[in-house]
Symmetry: C2
Subunit: 391 residues, 2 copies
């Protein structure tokens, strides 16, 4: 087990009708805010009205910036930064899923920064200073951004998709009402599940020894998703299932599950190239890439993959042939993704397989860097993983 | 699943040699502090020297208040409050286990309060206002006080042991080096385990429906203790085992595991009377009381006790007779406590059984209130539980 520092201070306000608390909660931080959201879905559902009524009731003025797209764009972020500066806005309220929250975090970091906000994502600047505080009303359990220290953005200039992390961009609060997720279509629900599971598995597949406690927390969180997602897809208004998934999605990515462990994150990097170029849903991309990554790396640590199979998927351990157990776990995961309606090959994503090498090249900055830590992957490895994802 | 608010903002600094960061960490909060600790053990181990050197290196002045006893006393707390007021101290550093931390929290709450600090514990005052911030260097995984919102104190005037809770008394930071627990005797290690497990089980045994995720987190944390405590007792310097127990002990009681659930806490209340009157170790008292409580209440919710048996203790579910499975789980717990050297009857605690009724009476303020929520227990019930604990 490695030394670690952990502090996840986001205040979680969870349950039915909790969005009605948003005005009072925002008021503790600011009287004037940027209200940031995506498209029409929060208007159609009535959430927009409930949020703005609550803000007005608490005397909170707001300027709006809508139009966040899935795989949020740096161009809109730049617009948001200008808007905040011009109007002297000290707080951002994100109403939506991970894309809206990540966009809000980027605006928050960019407002006090002299250079261009993309610097944080390109690696040109490492240090976020005094970002604006961000609050969240969550509508989609997936990215875990509501309590995470990270943000992922897409730059249309070259279609780069990059992440950045800073303890300072964790949201102040996250309002989470599982009822707000009733209207999510089955496919989006499933994509969210793949994203949540990937956040756990990026931490689970580690070579760090003696991490029994966090192993068990990871397994508990994975099992929660595996049990509850089919129920939520079957019956979109099952409060219990929606609630388990929503809360598990936050814990999956607030850094608790990674405490004391080396994390991997290669699969995320490999997937980002897919969704940057083809604009596929991140969760769908992960459902394709993660099993392929597993097949490529599992021999590196068969006991860990066997543990995954036994403890997460209830597969009986094959004492004579642990590798078989390890492989069964990977097949179970792939089968689970397929069973909830997710693509499990690049072809099923509706993507051509003629740019695999280009993606492997971009992933590694032209083979100048490696991805992951469970196994360090170069351009050639990643190309092989893309090929495995085609089968 | 119930609505909830959750915010556990204590910064955890975990791992080898982390106590060397204490001066720098304190310095972020204050230049003058109260250094609060127990007896000679931190001097004997050298921890006192390392902490004070780090404070001095960072220019932090400190006034000392030693002498915290197990089951910490309100008299010392009153002395600490006076000391802080007289010297205009804005921060308290607790170096020790739960008793020292609880004592520090009480001082922190008492300094700005006009009345007597016991008011917070007796229930006379419910509201803690602007307590001093507290930091922790933890030496004993047990109470979970290093990241909890609660404090338990004993009043020598009548030997009352009472708890209080406030979000404002959560420590700012907790420095946790598992190596500091190497010198804990086997019995104290085992008492800590019982305390940690009790914190989880007080949350686990609930009638709240649809709490799949937190059930699984509870089970994961219990299994971590069950696996690692025998190793730590066998080999006190096993870093991995000590580390799992220490981190699990914090998560057991930082409120995550209780999110969305009604909690019980009857066993703690019943045990407090024992340790208030007889000054027995809290964990040892819990090892005696918890199985007795279980035997008294399990019929109220056999499926939950069967789940405990199957998922925590790997007992095969008896489909024809689930009650048998439930009872096997209770026996397994009792057997586990005995196997790590804990008493499991009141007699083994070295306590007479002639004051059971008096304790049941004090527990319930003379049968005027009930304890617990899984089953609401009056004086007569608690008397029966004390009797079951004698078998």
């Amino acid at each position: 087990m490695n030394n670690f520092t952990f502090q996840s201070a986001t205040k979680i306000i969870f349950g039915r009708d909790t969005e009605q608390q948003v005005g009072a909660e925002v008021k503790k931080h600011a009287n004037r805010i940027l209200l940031h959201y995506g498209g029409g879905s929060i208007k159609k559902s009535g959430l927009y009205d409930r949020v703005t009524v609550s803000l007005k009731e608490n005397g909170v003025e707001f300027i709006e910036l809508a139009g966040v797209q899935p795989n949020p764009r740096v161009s809109l972020v730049r617009k948001g930064i200008q808007l905040c500066r011009d109007n002297n806005i000290p707080f951002i309220l994100a109403v939506g899923g991970g894309s809206v929250i990540d966009s809000a975090k980027a605006i928050a970091a960019g407002v006090p920064y002299d250079g261009d906000v993309w610097d944080f994502y390109s690696g040109k600047s490492q240090v976020v200073n005094t970002p604006l505080p961000v609050g969240v009303v969550l509508t989609l359990p997936a990215a875990g951004s509501e309590a995470s220290s990270s943000s992922v953005l897409t730059n249309e200039d070259g279609w780069y998709k990059k992440g950045m992390g800073s303890e300072l961009i964790r949201p102040e609060f996250a309002i989470m009402n599982p009822e707000l997720t009733y209207t999510l279509p089955a496919y989006q629900t499933a994509c969210g599940a793949a994203d949540i599971m990937a956040h756990i598995m990026e931490r689970y597949f580690t070579n760090t020894q003696d991490v029994d406690f966090t192993d068990r927390l990871c397994e508990a969180t994975l099992k929660t998703i595996i049990e509850n997602i089919p129920i939520a897809i079957q019956n979109p208004e099952d409060y219990a299932a929606r609630a388990q998934v929503m809360w598990a999605g936050t814990i999956a990515h607030n850094d608790l599950l990674g405490t004391g462990r080396e994390e991997d994150w290669a699969s995320h990097g490999i997937e980002h190239e897919l969704s940057a170029i083809y604009d596929v849903a991140h969760g769908a991309g992960l459902a394709v890439i993660f099993p392929a990554w597993m097949k490529y790396v599992y021999r590196n640590n068969i006991p860990r993959f066997a543990q995954f199979a036994v403890r997460v998927w209830n597969i009986e351990y094959d004492f004579e042939n642990p590798e078989r157990t390890a492989l069964q776990g990977i097949e179970k995961l792939k089968g689970f993704f397929a069973s909830i309606g997710l693509p499990v090959t690049i072809q099923q994503l509706g993507v051509e397989d003629d740019r695999l090498e280009e993606m492997a090249d971009k992933c590694t900055d032209g083979d100048k860097k490696t991805l992951g830590s469970f196994v360090k992957l170069g351009k050639k490895d990643i190309f092989e993983i893309y090929k495995l994802a085609c089968e």
